[in-house]
C-alpha cells in the first residue's frame, strides 16, 4: 500500500516543473528522496544544481511540490524540504506555513511570483512552437501554410501536448482551432512574419535548452559523489 502511495507521490512530483528549464523536477533529478509512511506522511527532499540557485525559482518548485503532493489522495501530510540552498530554511518554513513569497522574505522580495511564472510559461510556449514546427518546415511546409495551420491539424506528439499545456498555463489559446504560430501576446502570426517568428522561437528554445544543460552539468558535478 505504501509503495502504491509512494508511486502516486512520485507521479505528482513529475507534474512539478523547473519554471525556467520547463522540465519536470523528477527528470532533472532535483528530487533526492521521496518516502511515504504507512499513515500517509510524505517526505520529499529536493536539491538544486547550486547553493545559489535563484530564490524565486526555488520557491516556486518547493511550493508546487507541496501543493502537488498534498493533493495526492491518501497523503495525510506533505513535508517538502529543500536541502543545501542558501535560503533553504526560509523557503521550507514559508512553504510549510503556507506563507507567500513576500511574507517569507519580508523586506527583500516585492512581488509575488505569478508574473515570473507567466513569463516562463510564455517563453516555453514560444520555444514549443519551434519544437513542433521545425519538422514541418523540414518537410517543406511553406510560410503561408504555417500561418494557417491550426493545432488540430498538427500530428499528435508529446511535444504538441506540451505546447498546448504551456499555452493553457499562460492563458493562451490551446484548443484545436488555435493557430500553431502565435506571438507572445496571443495574436496570430502573419505569413510575412513566419520566418522571423520561427527564428525567435528557436532562439528561445536554444536559451532554455542551453540553461537546462548547464544546470544538469552543475547538478551532476555537485552530487557526483552520491549519485
Amino acid at each position: 500500500m505504501t509503495a502504491v502511495l509512494r508511486d502516486a507521490v512520485w507521479e505528482a512530483l513529475g507534474t512539478v516543473r523547473d519554471p525556467e528549464l520547463d522540465e519536470p523536477i523528477t527528470d532533472l533529478e532535483f528530487v533526492s528522496s521521496c518516502t511515504v509512511t504507512p499513515d500517509g506522511v510524505a517526505t520529499v527532499l529536493l536539491r538544486l544544481p547550486t547553493f545559489f540557485c535563484a530564490a524565486n525559482f526555488s520557491w516556486l518548485m518547493v511550493a508546487d511540490a507541496y501543493d502537488a503532493v498534498s493533493a495526492v489522495p491518501g497523503v495525510t501530510r506533505a513535508e517538502i524540504e529543500l536541502e543545501g540552498h542558501f535560503v533553504a530554511e526560509e523557503i521550507n518554513e514559508g512553504v510549510a506555513a503556507r506563507a507567500g513569497f513576500t511574507a517569507a522574505f519580508s523586506g527583500e522580495a516585492r512581488a509575488e511570483l505569478d508574473e515570473l511564472r507567466r513569463t516562463f510559461n510564455r517563453k516555453a510556449a514560444l520555444a514549443g512552437q519551434d519544437i513542433v514546427a521545425r519538422p514541418l518546415v523540414d518537410t517543406g511546409t511553406t510560410p503561408e501554410q504555417l500561418a494557417e495551420l491550426r493545432l488540430g491539424q498538427v500530428p499528435a506528439s508529446p511535444e504538441l501536448t506540451r505546447l498546448r499545456a504551456r499555452r493553457a498555463d499562460g492563458g493562451l489559446p490551446h484548443d484545436d482551432d488555435a493557430p500553431l504560430l502565435l506571438h507572445e501576446d496571443g495574436t496570430p502570426v502573419t505569413t510575412e512574419q513566419v520566418p522571423l517568428h520561427l527564428r525567435r522561437a528557436r532562439l528561445t528554445r536554444v536559451s532554455i535548452e542551453g540553461n537546462s544543460g548547464t544546470c544538469r552539468d552543475l547538478l551532476a558535478k555537485r552530487y557526483a559523489a552520491t549519485s
Partner: protein, 511 residues
C-alpha cells in the same frame, strides 16, 4: 615476611637519600594503588548507577579518551555507521563531550570518569578502545603510519565490517556562526563554479592561486602564453561582499602600471551613489582617462539589491559618461544569484538606454546568458549593443560544445560578427585555451546546426580583436586588418560561405 623486610629496607634507603619528602612520596606511591580505586569508584558508582538506570546496560562502550579532538571527530563516522546498521545501544566516554553535544548519532555520552571502562566490562559490556596506533616501547613512540584508513581501523575495532558510509558532521553554535559573519546576510559569489567544479581545460590551478594571482602570473598567462596584445580590465567594486572590493579601479591600475601600454583600465560608477558618486567618477576620469566603464547592475548597495541602467539616476550618469567622451559601457548581465523577485540582471533596461544614448556602445558581457534570447532580440534592434563573449566561451566551448555552437549561431544571426567581442574572464579561465580553441573552432556539421553560418577567418579576426580595437581606438597594423572586399579568395571556405562573407564585409564597411 621477606617482602615486608625488603620494603622496609627500601624505605630506609629512600629516607637516607631523599629525607622525609622521599619517604612520603614513596608511601603515597605504594598506598595510592590501594586507596585510589576506592576514591575512583566512590565518584564513579553514583554517576554510573544513574546512567545505567536511565539507559540500561550498553552493548558497547567506546573508551574514546586519551587522544586529540580530531580523533574524536573521526569517530563520529564510526558512530554513524553503527546507527545505520541499527546497533544503537552504545555509550561513548570522552574528554571532549562538547564535540558530541548535538550529534544525533551518539546515544549516550558519559563523563571521563576513571575506571568506567572496567566497570562496564564487569556487567558484560564489550569495551572498544578505538585508537588506530599504539605505543611501541622499543622505539618509545607510536607505531608507524597505519596501513589502512584510520576510520577503517576504528571500525574494525568496533566490529564493523564491509562498506562504511562517511558523512561529515558539523554543528556550529550561534556564537561560532556569528564569529564567521562578515556582513549581514552575507553571501559569497560563486563565479567560476568553484563549488560545482565545472570542467575547465588548461586550468589546474590550486585553490591558493585561484584566490590570489600575482602580476607575474598575469603577465605569463595573459601576455606571454595567452596570445593577448591588449587587455581591457573591467573594474568592479562589490564592496558589499568583498572587504577590499572585487577588482577595483585602483587595483587594476597596478596591473596597468606593471604592463605599460598593454592594459586599458575601465572605470565604474553606480547611480545609487548620487551627486557624490558623480563627482568622484569625474575626478577619477581626470586621473585615469577612461575609455569605458563597467556597470554591475546587480551590485548590492545599502538596502538596494540592484538597479536598472534605465533608471533616471543612471541616465544622469550616462549623460556624464557621454559628456566626458567615454564611449564604451560594459554591463555584466549574467546568471542571477540573489535578487529575489526583482531580477537585476534582466537585459530590458539596456534596450531603453541604448536607444536614448546612441553615441554610447553597450557591451553586454556574457551575452545575457541565461537570458541570451532576451539579449539577442534587443541587440538586433540596437546597432550600438554588443555581445561580450566572456563566460560564453569559457563556460561552454569546451564543456558544452553543442550549446556553444548554438549560442554562437544565434549570436551570429541576431547580433552579427561586427558586434561580438572576445572576453576571457582571466582569473577564472586563462585566455590561452580560449583563444586557441576559438581560432580552431568551427560551426559543426549536422542538422541542428544547418541554419547557422560557418565562421570565416574574417569573422574570427573581428571577434578576437578588430571589433574591440575599434571600440577602444587601438591602432591595428596593416597586415592584421581585414583585406578589402573581394580579396578573401584565399580563405578556406565552407560550402555556402560566400554569401555570408559578402554580408559580413558589407556590414563591416558600414560600422
Amino acid at each position: 615476611m621477606a617482602s615486608l623486610a625488603k620494603k622496609v629496607r627500601t624505605l630506609r634507603r629512600v629516607a637516607q637519600r631523599y629525607g622525609m619528602t622521599g619517604v612520603k612520596s614513596a608511601i603515597r606511591d605504594k598506598v595510592n594503588p590501594l586507596t585510589q580505586p576506592v576514591v575512583d569508584y566512590a565518584k564513579l558508582l553514583p554517576a554510573a548507577a544513574v546512567l545505567l538506570a536511565r539507559h540500561g546496560k550498553p552493548a558497547r562502550f567506546f573508551n574514546a579518551v586519551g587522544a586529540g579532538i580530531g580523533d574524536d571527530l573521526l569517530l563520529t563516522s564510526v558512530f554513524r555507521e553503527l546507527q545505520r546498521r541499527g546497533r544503537k545501544n552504545f555509550w561513548v566516554r570522552t574528554t571532549h563531550p562538547e564535540l558530541y553535544l548535538h550529534n544525533a548519532d551518539v546515544p549516550v555520552v558519559v563523563p571521563p570518569l576513571e575506571r568506567f571502562d572496567k566497570l562496564v566490562k564487569r556487567v558484560g559490556t564489550s569495551v572498544v578502545y578505538p585508537w588506530y596506533t599504539s605505543y611501541h616501547p622499543a622505539f618509545d613512540r607510536d607505531d608507524p603510519t597505519p596501513e589502512q584508513h584510520l576510520i577503517s581501523i576504528m571500525c574494525q575495532k568496533a566490529g564493523i565490517t564491509g562498506t562504511v558510509t562517511l558523512r561529515p558532521y558539523l554543528h556550529l553554535t550561534a556564537e561560532e556562526k556569528s564569529r564567521g559573519v562578515r556582513a549581514p546576510r552575507q553571501v559569497a559569489i560563486m563565479s567560476s563554479g568553484l563549488d560545482a567544479q565545472h570542467s575547465m581545460r588548461n586550468k589546474n590551478w590550486p585553490l591558493e592561486k585561484y584566490q590570489r594571482w600575482t602580476l607575474e602570473d598575469y603577465g605569463r598567462d595573459v601576455f606571454d602564453e595567452g596570445h593577448v596584445d591588449y587587455a581591457v580590465l573591467q573594474s568592479t567594486f562589490l564592496y558589499y561582499w568583498y572587504k577590499e572590493g572585487f577588482n577595483t579601479t585602483k587595483r587594476n591600475q597596478t596591473v596597468a602600471e606593471a604592463f605599460p601600454g598593454k592594459v586599458i583600465v575601465n572605470g565604474r560608477w553606480d547611480p545609487r551613489e548620487g551627486e557624490e558618486g558623480l563627482r568622484r567618477f569625474e575626478e577619477n576620469h581626470k586621473r585615469d582617462n577612461y575609455k569605458g566603464v563597467k556597470l554591475y547592475t546587480a551590485e548590492w548597495y545599502e538596502d538596494s539589491r540592484g538597479y536598472k541602467v534605465s533608471d533616471p539616476e543612471a541616465y544622469r550618469y550616462l549623460e556624464k559618461t557621454q559628456e566626458l567622451g567615454i564611449k564604451n559601457v560594459h554591463l555584466h548581465k549574467g546568471p542571477t544569484i540573489w535578487p529575489l523577485d526583482r531580477d537585476a540582471f534582466d537585459v530590458e533596461d539596456v534596450d531603453k538606454a541604448a536607444t536614448d544614448f546612441p553615441e554610447l556602445n553597450f557591451i553586454v558581457e556574457h551575452a545575457g546568458v541565461p537570458r541570451i534570447e532576451q539579449f539577442a532580440y534587443i541587440a538586433v534592434q540596437e546597432p550600438n549593443v554588443y555581445a561580450g563573449l566572456s563566460v560564453v566561451i569559457g563556460a561552454h566551448m569546451h564543456a558544452r560544445p553543442n550549446t556553444f555552437a548554438r549560442f554562437m549561431g544565434e549570436l551570429l544571426f541576431w547580433v552579427g560578427e561586427d558586434r561580438i567581442v572576445f572576453g576571457s574572464d582571466y582569473g577564472i579561465w586563462e585566455p590561452k585555451w580560449q583563444v586557441e580553441g576559438f581560432i580552431d573552432w568551427q560551426m559543426p556539421d549536422g542538422e541542428q546546426f544547418s541554419d547557422y553560418p560557418k565562421l570565416t577567418t574574417t569573422a574570427k579576426k573581428k571577434i578576437m580583436g578588430l571589433n574591440a580595437a575599434k571600440l577602444y581606438d587601438i591602432e591595428v597594423p596593416a597586415e592584421y586588418q581585414i583585406p578589402a572586399p573581394g580579396t578573401t579568395a584565399d580563405e578556406d571556405k565552407a560550402p555556402g560561405e560566400d554569401l555570408f562573407i559578402d554580408a559580413g564585409t558589407a556590414a563591416g564597411a558600414q560600422a
